[in-house]
């Protein structure tokens, strides 16, 4: 279970910005999100970053009900 945040074009692709999703790990969460093939394709793109509780993560990680998972498209800069 985690609060999931989508930024930039990911939110446009998915049609939502924030959702609570049942998942024990980040890998599980990715699988759950893949139910939307457009979002799955967007999240698989290059330079996509994932932050758990506002820290970038690169490996799989366990999630709790309090976890906040953010999917970040390539950053555009300010």
């Amino acid at each position: 279970m985690a609060k999931v945040l989508l930024f930039g074009r990911f939110a446009d692709v998915a049609g939502w910005r924030e959702k609570t999703i049942e998942a024990a790990t980040l890998a599980d969460l990715r699988t759950a999100l893949s139910a939307d093939p457009h979002l799955a394709e967007a999240l698989a793109g290059p330079s996509v970053q994932v932050a758990v509780d506002k820290a970038l993560v690169r490996a799989d990680i366990a999630l709790t009900a309090a976890s906040e998972v953010a999917f970040l498209p390539p950053m555009s800069g300010g």
Partner: protein, 163 residues
């Protein structure tokens, strides 16, 4: 040192006034203001998305690194988020140092970092609709000017891994 993300428009001059008072040992203040361009009607508005709590923390890390690297006495960053009209300020950076070379280089460096590596997502609204923008090659090259073997930002390292 301060980093602010705000959706309300700001006057860069007011920020510079506040930053420059009471500095008896500061010889040099460099500032940069980035404004939204109309592009002769091609851009009607800019929309900037940040991840509050993450974006500001990443900027603060970059500012603290610049303070250390360039020997700054102080630095400030104010960045707009949300919808920005042409002619409005998007970003303001000011740096204070005893001498001008450090103030200029730090300000230049911070802007290169902000334009290419800061966690923002930018949408341009024009007469033909809206589109998401990514950093230009020039932005990446400019930011690369400052890289040292000791200085690969976490976000950049993560990006490189993904490629």
């Amino acid at each position: 040192m301060s980093v602010t993300l705000q959706s309300a428009p700001f006057d860069p001059g007011q920020l510079l006034s506040r930053f420059s008072v009471g500095r008896d040992e500061t010889g040099a203040i460099a500032s940069f203001t980035g404004l939204a361009r109309a592009e002769r009607g091609q851009t009607t508005a800019l929309e900037l998305e940040a991840y509050e709590g993450f974006t500001d923390a990443e900027i603060a890390k970059a500012v603290n690194a610049a303070i250390h690297r360039f020997g700054l006495q102080d630095a400030v960053v104010v960045h707009r988020i949300g919808a920005i009209a042409p002619g409005e300020a998007i970003v303001f950076v000011a740096t204070a140092a005893p001498h001008r070379r450090a103030a200029f280089e730090a300000c230049d460096h911070l802007m290169d970092w902000l334009k290419s590596r800061a966690p923002f997502w930018k949408k341009e609204h024009g007469p033909d609709g809206a589109r998401w923008i990514e950093p230009t090659d020039r932005d990446r090259t400019d930011a690369g000017r400052w890289d040292t073997p000791f200085d690969t930002p976490a976000s950049q390292a993560a990006q490189d891994d993904d490629k």
